[in-house]
Amino acid sequence: MIENFGIVLGEWRLLATGLFNTVWICALSGVLSLILAVFVSLLLVSSRHGVRRVAQGAVDVMRAIPFLMLLFIVYYCLPAVNVRLSSWTCGLSALVVYNTAYFAEILRGAWAHLPREQTETGHAYGYAGLRLYHRIILPQIFIASGPVLGNQMITLVKNSAFLMVITIPDLTFMANQVQAIYFVPFETMLIAVGLYWVVCSTIEGTVRRLDRIAAVRGHE
């Protein structure tokens, strides 16, 4: 078994490429999703009943679909309506659309739990509309939902492994390549599992650090 690990580590360049791809595609889609989610969450708490219902419906449906299904829909169905995307774009879009729904729901939930005094104080100091949201509410929501957002990021990383099915060279894809070439499946996948653990633990650790900083600054 030890020699097998040696074989796998010999191909460290392939694994490193896979890891790098996983990390940057997750980071990129994470950031994009979060930005989009801010806007979607605005729709979710809109005072216009119709807007809210439609937005909530879309978010609920998106949260009921398995990620691999969404990926396949983007990959197989879009070409049928003449939208041709590279597999990278497919993967990225699927991740972004999927996670926007989850992030938006998390932000909505955090806003619902925000004590009313915050908004009222903001109004008292002359903040209104978009500025109120941007300077007062948004920071609070982000800090309040930090851990939950962190969990969703971890889920995002785990969902990114599905991208290997449409041949995007992420970590799992590369690990699969290595194990197929050298017939060392157990050791290869074990190392892949270890690398995912490192990535997820880093996210968890970062969230905990940010949470502690927020606590020091006086937030709950």
Binding site: Q179, M189, A192
Partner: protein, 216 residues
């Protein structure tokens, strides 16, 4: 476009998805409970080992786990059929989350009731059996049903190792007929319906439990 044929195939795929998911959940629930009990019992070496195992497994994607189990185990001498492997994969994945659910309820458990049980002459085992477990499973029910929806949403990973679940049926139909929209649209509707059903069940059980017992 032969709808009846498509629907039959999709129905079979749905059945596979649901049975494999439920089987995996059942095994996962039991093993999760065991993991939680060992950790709650603070068994010296086992507790820490389990903590590490839980941490690693929670960070493992379903696809990676599927490849590890289906291709990795045979290399160690244990060959499994795709179906058995699928159940194993799902149960391993869900058991660590179940363990956390059980653990949260067990840790949270009001100490006063344990005092009353001990004062009434119950041994630790009987206290767990008659007082702790009946409340913990009811209190964990919403979280457990939520985990069910996550299992359904993660189940397409088993398509990767050759199990003909709902997702694989849709893909196969597409590659054979070059008409992706009917199978994928219908399959999506089925998935959404199943998940929405489970969410409804979760909300209903949560309400009923609070109505009957108050907050457990």
């Amino acid at each position: 476009m032969v709808w009846t044929s498509l629907l039959t195939e999709l129905a079979k795929g749905t059945l596979t998805t649901i049975t494999v998911s439920m089987a995996g959940l059942a095994v996962g629930m039991l093993s999760g409970l065991l993991l939680a009990l060992v950790r709650a019992g603070a068994v010296p070496v086992a507790s820490q080992a389990i903590a590490v195992y839980v941490s690693i497994t929670r960070a493992t994607p379903m696809v990676t786990l599927a490849l590890l189990i289906f291709f990795g185990l045979p290399a160690l001498g244990l060959a499994l059929s795709p179906l058995v492997a699928a159940i194993l994969i799902i149960s391993i994945n869900t058991s660590v989350f179940q363990a956390e659910i059980w653990r949260a309820s067990l840790l949270d458990f009001p100490r006063g009731q344990l005092d009353a049980a001990r004062a009434s002459g119950m041994t630790r085992v009987r206290t767990f059996q008659r007082i702790v477990f009946p409340q913990v499973w009811r209190a964990s029910l919403p979280a457990l049903v939520n985990e069910m929806t996550l299992v359904i949403k993660g189940s397409p990973a088993i398509a990767v190792i050759g199990v003909v679940d709902l997702t694989r049926v849709a893909v196969r139909w597409t590659t054979q007929t070059y008409q992706p929209i009917p199978p994928f649209l219908t399959a999506t509707v089925i998935y959404v319906a199943v998940v929405m059903c489970l969410i409804w069940v979760q909300r209903y059980t949560e309400r009923r439990i609070v109505e009957k017992y108050g907050i457990l």
